[in-house]
Amino acid sequence: MAALLEAKDVSRSFGGVHALAGCSLSVDKGSITGLIGPNGSGKTTMFNVMTGYVKPDKGTVSFDGHDVTNARPDKIFALGIGRTFQLTRIFARISVVENMLVATQRDESWLRGLTRSKSSKSELDAAMEWLDFVGLSRLASMPAGSLSYGQRKLLELAYVLVADPDVILLDEPAGGVNLTLINEISEKILALNKGGKTFLIVEHNMEFVMKICDKVTVMHQGCDLVTGTPAEVRANPAVLDAYLGSSDDEFDEEEDVSA
């Protein structure tokens, strides 16, 4: 399969900390790729670099043949890369459906926004359809700030989806979510993937990753350690050594699953 999103030899330091040190990652079109690694291994920094929130010191990021290394987040989103955040970021003081409407147009000029109403009928229908998909349509007129943490995760997923991006980056979609909701989220991801969406998922919940991902990349100390199928990664001694095998990380994992 061809790589839709690709980061090559990316480095990024914050002061003396090398968050990324020559890390490479590729996400194949139509795949669900997992990105795992111990806390502080650079997973979220890689997400931030790929979505334009952080500029890399070195290396390149390309998406569908476009170089997006130093592009702004709005441009990257316009090209078709949507993302969620580890700590959910919603627009708390506007309604749930207005949250959706913010994202309905991926690439609309700011001048057009001045002259049009906040939604067309088709945009509103699409917003309600995706809210229905994540089970939040009955809360559409509620202020988004009144949603629970799990509902906020679903809303964030829904407003990324309404923009119809080609690739969706999910930062810990199962983090802090109960088991029933984790199963729901994984089912929705699999359903969307069947529909042609490509996913890159950062997650500490190994069961979740191993269940839904086609390919997994393991990061360690800012570098890509191993890439392979879930079974290959699980069996790799280097991975066990760096991540899965250490008692500290087991504790982290258990904590995340139970959260």
């Binding site: 506007i94 913010v102 994202a103 700011w110 926004g113 001045l114 906040k118």
Partner: protein, 333 residues
């Protein structure tokens, strides 16, 4: 409720239209003009700061620029004092907008408290410029062509022009709230970086809002200059103007449509009344201080939000009572 809202707005407008006809005392109509001017300014301020969360304390830059546009153009063009000067008001608004572009481009590079500080700093740059530049007449100010209207009638044209500004600012603010642009400003208020990641061109949206907001300030400054017949830098580039406008919006209801109108109406009318009623011109400042302490402590979101929450709570309590009562009756029988 759907009919009550337009009726209330229509009633409010009718009262404002009829006010100078019913109350012809120039002392009262003068209060009316200044109150409407502040209502327009606060509504316009809220259209950017209230929606985007970027609290600007530099609005007097645009008010002062508008006032100087009126003064400089009318004197240099040797215009005759009279109604023709009103035509300069939209021009003053446009000049304020032009000035707002570089001011906004500088100030909007930063966020939150830093933005507030930068707007204050830029305000003082303009105040010092007005005091020291030769073309502004310096501290001596500028006298504009004398308007030969009778004292009893003098305020009335200003009143209706100011009312026009209030209607303009309110309609514009309502239109912005209904537009995608307005939604983007609200998204920026709640989480600017997230909005950026969802395709909102945050820099362009913020600068557009900031510039649009300056238009009414420029017009209000020009009207004020015309009303006074003369301007001094310290009166049109006045730091208390910046604070007053912001406080009016906070008192009425930050980010709401009605709140800034209400805040402007209550504060400016009471300030003018107190100033005229008591020889001690600074008494109102003490009363304002007390009022704001009370508002911050008991209604931090402003009058409109507090009243609306109380009203909704009352309706919910009634509904709850209505659903409980039959059950209670059933239990007894």
């Amino acid at each position: 409720m759907s009919k009550a809202k337009p009726t209330a707005w229509g009633l409010g407008l009718a009262v404002l239209i009829l006010f100078p006809i019913i109350e012809t005392n120039p002392a009262w109509t003068s209060i009316g003009v200044l109150t409407l001017m502040f209502m327009a300014c606060t509504t316009s301020w809220n259209m950017f700061s209230g929606y985007s969360g970027y609290v600007s304390l530099g609005s007097a830059i645009f008010f002062g620029s508008g006032a100087y546009t009126m003064a400089l153009v009318s004197t240099h063009a040797h215009m005759a004092g009279g109604a023709a000067l009103f035509w300069l008001i939209p021009l003053a608004g446009l000049v304020a907008m032009v000035i707002a572009v570089p001011v906004g481009a500088i100030a909007l590079r930063v966020r939150r408290h830093t933005f507030v500080v930068i707007t204050i700093a830029l305000f003082f740059v303009f105040q010092l410029l007005a005091i020291n530049a030769s073309f502004t007449g310096g501290a001596a100010g500028i006298y504009i062509p004398l308007i030969p209207w009778g004292a009893s009638y003098y305020n009335v044209p200003f009143y209706y022009v100011a009312l026009g500004m209030v209607i303009f600012a309110t309609l514009l603010s309502a239109a912005v709230r209904r537009s995608r642009f307005g939604l983007q400003l609200l998204a920026i208020r709640d989480d600017e970086d997230r909005a950026l990641g969802l395709g909102v061109r945050v820099t362009a949206v913020k600068l557009t809002g900031f510039t649009m907001s300056a238009f009414t300030f420029g017009m209000a400054g020009a009207l004020y200059c015309m009303l006074q017949g003369q301007i001094y830098p310290q009166f049109v580039f006045d730091p208390t103007f910046d604070i007053t406008v912001a406080l009016m919006a906070f008192l009425g209801g930050f980010g709401t449509l009605l709140g800034p109108l209400l805040g402007g109406l209550i504060l400016e009318a009471s300030q003018q009344y107190l100033t005229q009623s008591f020889s001690n011109g600074s008494l109102y400042l003490i009363l304002f201080g007390v009022l704001f302490l009370l508002v911050i402590l008991f209604m931090p979101q402003g009058i409109v939000v507090a009243v609306s929450q109380w009203w909704n709570g009352r309706a919910q309590r009634r509904e709850l009572k209505a659903t409980r009562d039959p059950a209670a009756v059933g239990a007894h029988t």
